[in-house]
């Protein structure tokens, strides 16, 4: 008798458990006390270092929110998933985050293609997604929807800021060398848009395949064209290798090398020689803390949690993206999608790098862009860039909402 009774209880528990599993909405309702932010980022793969820093920074936003008492006692939680830098993988992880784990919001990604896949999934399920990677497309129709937010910069904004600075300072004869995929094309379009107004002369527009390991065959030709500026539009390892080889060929003696984005992590990986003197843009550099108080507070918090290291550019976007969502929830007094969207639209904030605003029409973060120049080796291994110019947040530097297809 005793044993059969036990078995019955177990069976009942099992049934209850399985019915819970079958109905994610119930799980969601029962665990409604925590605010869950799904965070798919490419922990494995070539951008693993940047992704891990995105997580470290996002955790700071969560910790700060919880230490301040949360939302009337409701604590926040970060659900980190590996999207493996693959759109399909990212979509699957996002579906799981929303339907199985009951995530209230999604934030993350580190690639133009991946963020569009995540956005698509979140859009279909009516869940707010705050993207922290570069893209013009995500803020424009048809990809954009009411639930789409974009804390990351856009290639148009980045290339515009760097182009305005470089073309006025270093000359008008320009050669482009771009990685042959969406990132390269969008960035070069941004440079050309601002360059046309400034009267630049494009001597050549060369393309190389993504993941190239040798650029030597392109360099003699570039050298013979004698450009004032070489705009190197590639990312990650491509950028490190092309800069190193351009330096070896002595290109820097005659030509200023400019990149739309200079990554803190890439500079650390490639060493100072390859990057020395190269000018580029960034969404964040820790060195702005001397003039921006919020940057100082954010860096200090990060240093304390990470053995004195400093946050990277893409990492810091993880902080801003998660913090914006939590700020929206706080202002909306809950996680209701429509209310949070209303709270975020037009929101003015200064989280970590000066004044920003979420443009109401397309949910794009209007934000400062920093122009930086890579330094020679110094005493402090973290001190790798000089901030040589700052473009304050200005919606005129973005693609207009009308051009993006918004009414």
């Amino acid at each position: 008798m005793e044993t059969s009774k036990k078995a019955a209880v177990t069976r009942r528990t099992l049934l209850a458990a399985s019915s819970l599993l079958a109905m994610p909405s119930i799980v969601r309702a029962q665990s409604a006390d925590t605010i869950k932010i799904g965070f798919p980022v490419p922990l494995t793969g070539p951008y693993g270092t940047e992704a891990k820093d995105q997580v470290a920074c996002a955790q700071i936003a969560i910790a700060e929110f919880n230490e301040a008492g949360g939302l009337n006692g409701r604590k926040a939680e970060l659900l980190v998933r590996d999207d493996k830098l693959d759109p399909g993988e990212a979509a699957t992880r996002t579906i799981e985050l929303i339907e199985k784990d009951g995530a209230n919001f999604i934030c993350g990604s580190l690639s133009a293609a991946v963020q569009l896949a995540v956005n698509n999934v979140a859009k279909q399920r009516g869940v707010i997604y705050n993207s922290i990677s570069q893209s013009d497309q995500i803020a424009a129709l048809p990809d954009w929807s009411k639930t789409t937010f974009h804390e990351g910069m856009t290639p148009h904004l980045t290339a515009g800021a760097v182009g305005r600075y470089a073309f006025s300072k270093y000359g008008k004869k320009v050669v482009f060398l771009q990685a042959d995929y969406a990132y390269g094309h969008e960035m070069v379009a941004g440079f050309k848009a601002v360059g046309e107004k400034m009267g630049i002369e494009v001597l050549a527009d060369l393309r190389h395949p993504l993941g190239a390991t040798d650029f030597s065959t392109l360099l003699p030709r570039i050298q013979s064209l004698k450009p004032d500026i070489l705009v190197l539009v590639n990312f990650g390892r491509d950028q490190q290798i092309s800069l190193k080889q351009a330096t070896d060929f002595g290109l820097k003696k005659t030509t200023k090398i400019v990149a739309p984005v200079l990554l803190y992590t890439a500079r650390q990986a490639a060493g100072e020689k390859a990057f020395e003197g190269v000018v580029g843009g960034t969404s964040y550099y820790w060195g702005i803390e001397s003039t921006v108080p919020t940057a100082k507070a954010f860096n200090d918090r990060y240093r304390k949690a990470n053995e004195g290291r400093v946050p990277s550019d893409y990492g810091a976007l993880g902080y801003a993206g998660v913090r914006a969502l939590l700020e929206g929830a706080r202002r909306a007094g809950g996680t209701d999608t429509a209310k949070v969207i209303a709270a975020l639209e037009g929101l003015k904030y200064d989280f970590y790098k000066g004044a920003q605003e979420i443009r109401a029409c397309d949910h794009q973060a209007v934000q400062p862009v920093f122009i930086i120049e890579s330094k020679a080796a110094g005493a402090n291994p973290n001190d790798v860039f000089n901030v040589i110019s700052t473009d304050a947040a200005n919606a005129d530097n973005l693609v207009s909402c009308k051009d993006e297809g918004h009414v």
């Binding site: 494995t44 793969g45 070539p46 693993g48 270092t49 042959d180 060369l206 393309r207 190389h208 395949p209 993941g211 190239a212 390991t213 040798d214 030597s216 065959t217 392109l218 360099l219 003699p220 030709r221 050298q223 013979s224 064209l225 390892r237 490190q240 290798i241 190193k244 080889q245 070896d248 060929f249 002595g250 992590t265 650390q268 990986a269 490639a270 060493g271 020689k273 390859a274």
Partner: protein, 294 residues
Amino acid sequence: MDGITPDLLALQLFTGLALGAIYVLLALGMSLLFGMLTVVNFAHGAFYMLGAYAGILLLGFGVNFWFCLLFAPLLIGGIGMLSERFLIRHLYGRGIDYPLLLTFGLSYIMVETVRIFFGTQGLPFDTPDALQGASDIMIGYFPTYRLFVIGVAILVIAALWLFLERTPYGLIIRAGARDPQIVRILGIDVARVWLVVFGIGTGLAALAGLLAAPLQGASPEMGASILAESFVVTVVGGMGSLVGAVVAGLLVGVVVAMTSLFAPEMAQVAIFALMAIVLLIRPQGFFGRAGLMS
């Protein structure tokens, strides 16, 4: 296309030869392993990558670059010999795909191991001080280090040729490749010969990787793309032919360089187009023996 001067063409040709030098070193090792052991070594790219990281490790211990050029290939060649002794040896005579699959798996293990110990981001590798900057080569300035790579490749080719053609040990290796049974009957330990050959092949890959590190830095994935390219070189030159590896390596380098000059986006495709054309006209490659794969 305007602005193409004879000097630029000559410089571009030279750039191609320098690029080809790395291909030659990789393809030599690969061809050696195939010609002597009929092992298609899919881990060749991983050994190349290990060479670069062995260099970083040794530099970290204060060994200077010149000694690294000696010790890194010895170290990685040693790892190559260990994997031959304990893994690949058991698959001889079982058909070409067995060692192929084994080395394929081995390459994954090596790449992951490096990721665990050295990180996924890749590491910088500075050009040695003595070889920095560019040198005047009459037609223009060319990076000194790339000239050095060409020099090392020539030395290695000469040394390998002398070793195989002019020493008693080379004679045994060549005999062992042609008829292992007779060599064994003559009282020679063929297993040891193969062990040494595998060590030389992987050591050459490591040397190529170490030489490439100052050009592009070191990263766990650096062997993946160059593996495909050096396979093309090996196939074009003729599987198992060392002369073929040298000629095809330089040719592929020059083809990439020349395509880059006129149509940069076609450069990568050009390598494979070259392979397709060669395979159509001469399936065994320039210097390959027909029927070796069957």
